[in-house]
Symmetry: C2
Subunit: 132 residues, 2 copies
Amino acid sequence: MQKEHNLSKNQKIIFDLIDKSGGPMKAYSILFNVQKKGIKAPLQVYRALDKLVEIGKIHKIESRNAFIACQNSSCQISKATAFSICESCENVSEISNSKLSKYLSNFSDESGMKYSKYNLEFFGLCKKCKSK
Amino acid sequence: MQKEHNLSKNQKIIFDLIDKSGGPMKAYSILFNVQKKGIKAPLQVYRALDKLVEIGKIHKIESRNAFIACQNSSCQISKATAFSICESCENVSEISNSKLSKYLSNFSDESGMKYSKYNLEFFGLCKKCKSK
DNA sequence: AACATTATGTAATAATATAACATTTAGAAG
DNA sequence: CTTCTAAATGTTATATTATTACATAATGTT
Ligand SMILES: [Zn+2]
Ligand SMILES: [Zn+2]
Ligand SMILES: [Zn+2]
Ligand SMILES: [Zn+2]
């Protein structure tokens, strides 16, 4: 069962925007879109984004400096994330594959380092773009 | 056998700097360090970095906006990269594990998308930092 | 009510990265 | 060696992404 986080006003505005967009959004594009709702400064956006990432409602796509709503209901915390990214249309989707996540969560090498978190980004062409 | 790329003057200066540093370096720190060698503008650095990434001599650590020399001689092209990152001391090392790379290179899901590239970043505490 | 924690507002600035344009260098082809 | 082309360089300006610093307000706990 997922803990309910009561989002604050700004967090809710920003989460709803990202969630409705259905794809990754960049911070300044978010800012532009929420200015009519009274959020005027970059910092207000980044603070909400930080919190939303922390509680796992959104994830950051590192290679794109963009943020996407979590598409995986079992993903309480952004500790183990995997995405597929189309290099042509920039479509992004979260990969939810239990074998993969099990494999990576249990991964360890000879360095003696125990990993508590990972982020994986796959790149390629999506179905649509491949058939063009 | 790895194709020898003849690095240009700027590419060589910048690769040597990153390689000797032994860790990840950020673009503007690189710029600062090579100004005595005549490289004066960000763009000169970014162009060399782009090329070095393209030919696999360095990789970008996306979550850190930093660049590290390839530590894996068999890694001609930056198509399949994995790193371990200490969240305390920020030490980064390239993971070269054939099982892992085989697993990820062959990974496919039900989306019908075939992946040509991936980047994986593991986070945790390194041995040193764990024992503190 | 008192206190601590979290969130907000605002301005300024830092850090990261690219656009546009002119010129030069290095290879390949004839 | 000359012509052509692709790659690399130099330079200025600017765009994009993110944080510091400081003041205030809202929320939750004891
Ligand atoms: Zn998720
Ligand atoms: Zn696509
Ligand atoms: Zn490598
Ligand atoms: Zn460490």
